[in-house]
Symmetry: C2
Subunit: 241 residues, 2 copies
């Protein structure tokens, strides 16, 4: 099957969690908003969002077109793709567990975003910088360790079987945790330098994922958009206390 991913063309953002899954699996896909032509570019995104015909308009990107289906919400897309691309165990209980972990990653991603946008998504960072500085203190002291402790504990409880989160094989959850570590390192390098020795399972998982052939090729390609100050993970030194 040919998949069409619709996401903003200039950021990794939430779309990156889907891109990583498609790339690892070597799936046949188009990153539609990065292409030109009818139904492509940012116009392609807007056309689907504004379609008023009965059906399933998504609330926001990313969304995936797979045949007639249009699927929104990152974790929902990964649940769908995981099954089809062999990126999740086949037992139903494991799929529920993988999805639960992905939804917890989604919560973390929202909190990471809101550190630089504590007041409103429609305001520039500079117009909420004071509140962001205050929020960042609590985020780095309380929330980052809480989430990383949790995922480290999950990884450790699977040690012996593999460096991955679920059983012996890589899953989409591992790809997303790779992105979390890479993103936190970009956004909060000082804090991560101090923290990483407590999260060796996550660091090893990051390295293991980065060295997988398809992911390594992807990261070295132009398809991997560099981190920047328009996405989820932004490096503002004043927030990295």
């Amino acid at each position: 099957m040919h998949y069409e991913l619709y996401y903003w063309p200039n950021i990794q953002g939430r779309g990156e969690f889907v891109r990583l899954a498609l790339e690892e699996a070597g799936a046949d896909y188009s990153d539609m908003a990065r292409l030109e032509g009818h139904g492509k570019g940012i116009e392609g995104i807007v056309q689907i969002l504004e379609n008023t015909k009965p059906g399933s308009p998504p609330f926001a990107p990313p969304f995936l077109k797979a045949g007639k289906l249009i699927i929104g919400q990152t974790a929902n897309i990964l649940q769908f793709l995981g099954l089809r691309l062999g990126l999740v165990p086949t037992a139903n209980s494991k799929q529920i567990w993988a999805h639960q972990l992905q939804l917890t990653i989604a919560d973390f991603v929202s909190e990471i975003h809101d550190v630089h946008h504590p007041i409103a998504g429609s305001l520039y960072y500079k117009d909420q910088k004071r509140e962001a500085r205050r929020k960042a203190v609590y985020f780095l002291k309380e929330r980052v360790p809480k989430y990383l402790d949790y995922f480290e504990r999950i990884l450790i409880s699977n040690t012996g079987k593999s460096p991955y989160t679920l059983g012996r094989r890589l899953s989409y959850v591992d790809l997303s945790l790779f992105q979390i570590i890479a993103g936190l390192r970009y956004a909060f390098p000082k804090k991560m330098k101090r923290l990483e020795s407590s999260y060796l399972g996550l660091v090893m998982l990051h390295d293991k994922v980065a060295s997988r052939p398809n992911i390594a090729a992807y990261l070295a390609s132009e398809r991997r958009i560099p981190f920047n100050e328009y996405g989820i993970f932004r490096h503002y030194p004043e927030l990295d206390a």
Copy 2:
């Protein structure tokens, strides 16, 4: 099957979306933290969260015990229960769509919570009141209409079939949208009074759900915890501009 729900005993919170599904279906369940005894009360929640044995410790309540499974994340629980309790259509494409809507509701719920906690969940409201007042202006002007427009549009596109969101029958998405309208009315009565005439589909859905026999009985019972200023939907008049 007997279900065990684990959630804070003194608030509706995220647990309420699960309670509504269990109540509508007349499911056999225990609201564990509201009971006394071994493995019950708040201790019952903590024991599962702190269990270090390999398995599936959830990150936070609510979580549901169903036989040997422990399922965390509200939308994940509803996806699981929806199938078993007949609260979602049987076609796979409709289940993906229902889940996508539920995840969008989850995003809205997080934003509703963060209005009164823009800086940190660990701080009291009074210690982030200034930031909350600033955030509430944007939330009510931009975010509430954006989400309500979206859900109203979905409802309208299903009109003719039923007052519900998906096809002819009630789904867990409808129960959650009932809770959104009820909660917004509690938290922001002035704003909602001005807005409601633009969202007649959602208002009708709210009334339709509230009048279903099992839901009406639940709402009139002591099992329905009243809204209060510890949950997601809080009434702080200074935020209801």
